[in-house]
């Protein structure tokens, strides 16, 4: 088609798009190469701090990475979830695609897989992500994703535990009345 080749991605991460375009247009590489190269740019550049190391710290202040790559010709998939300590998540995902019969590896065990594939373990925390986390802690851990637990997650940090049945009844009595 007249519209091919093409590289397109969410958000104005133009260096990533340009790299993918260069791969398919000038270097005559495959689409899967282009996607890996393009997403890798954002992992290195920490696009909007929503990609790569040093962003979106979890409740413990740790940055973990999710990545996925899919070949539309073979319908083969490789993915990693909650990958710890490895910066090149999209490339690890591609190793899952190319060197396993699985589709997704997660967590610390995905890190062990990455090590076998020759990747290095590095600290994904940066001074900026630590500051984001400390600011969140200072703000009583607001906002957070907990519900139905005590202490009240809208006011306090954890650790939390499920609301006891007594608390449930109290809650109902308190909020469901005429």
């Amino acid at each position: 088609g007249v519209g091919l080749p093409i590289a397109i991605n969410t958000w104005p991460f133009t260096n990533a798009t340009a790299t993918a375009w260069n791969a398919v247009y000038r270097r005559n590489l495959s689409a899967i190469d282009a996607v890996e190269l393009g997403c890798s740019v954002c992992e290195r550049e920490q696009c909007d701090l929503t990609v790569g190391y040093g962003g979106s710290p979890d409740e413990d202040g740790e940055t973990t990475l999710d990545a996925f790559i899919m070949d539309g010709v073979t319908m083969n998939v490789g993915a990693v979830g909650a990958l710890r300590g490895v910066k090149s998540a999209i490339s690890v995902a591609r190793r899952v695609l190319e060197h396993t019969q699985h589709s997704i590896l997660v967590g610390e065990l995905a890190t062990q897989f990455a090590l076998q594939m020759g990747f290095q373990v590095e600290n994904l925390t940066t001074p900026q992500s630590r500051e984001m986390w400390q600011s969140w802690r200072t703000n009583s851990c607001q906002p957070n994703y907990w519900m139905g637990v005590e202490p009240d997650p809208r006011q306090q940090c954890g650790p939390y535990q499920p609301l006891s049945s007594t608390s449930d009844r109290f809650s109902q009595a308190e909020y469901s009345h005429d």
Binding site: G1, N9, E43, D71, I104
Partner: protein, 138 residues
């Protein structure tokens, strides 16, 4: 999150995503980015789609898969993207997210919800120097 679709000179389609997830997530949480059909989906006979946004909500609707299936049924990328976003909005009217959809002819579109004129980046023969486009949300 970056979610990307590429189609090479041979018409081969691929999709990829990379994300560090949600701020202050509960440790162990995984978003939509690594999930097939949620963060992205590709079918070499149809095209591909890729998403960004509130992954905890979006993953429940497999929007990338839905958009590709809509294109398989003959929808344009624009209509397919809108269908996928509207399906989520029907159940979660306050969710924020976006999708890009591309067919194997290189026609593309985006749709979004809860964002301000969602921007996406394109390089193609029509835009060899690259362009950032914006789409108003449904």
């Amino acid at each position: 999150t970056i979610s990307m679709v590429a189609i090479d000179r041979h018409g081969h389609v691929a999709v990829g995503t990379s994300s560090n997830g949600a701020n202050h997530k509960i440790p162990g949480r995984v978003g939509d980015a690594p999930l097939v059909g949620a963060g992205g989906y590709a079918d070499g006979t149809v095209g591909a789609a890729a998403c960004t946004g509130d992954g905890d909500v979006m993953m429940r609707f497999l929007p990338s898969f839905l958009a590709v299936e809509e294109m398989r049924r003959g929808s344009s990328p624009e209509d397919a993207a809108k269908t996928a976003i509207s399906r989520i909005a029907q159940y979660y009217p306050t969710f924020s997210g976006a999708i890009i959809a591309v067919n194997i002819r290189g026609e593309y579109a985006a749709s979004c919800h809860g964002l301000d004129n969602f921007p996406y980046s394109v390089h193609s023969p029509l835009h060899p120097s690259g362009v950032v486009l914006r789409v108003p949300c449904v």
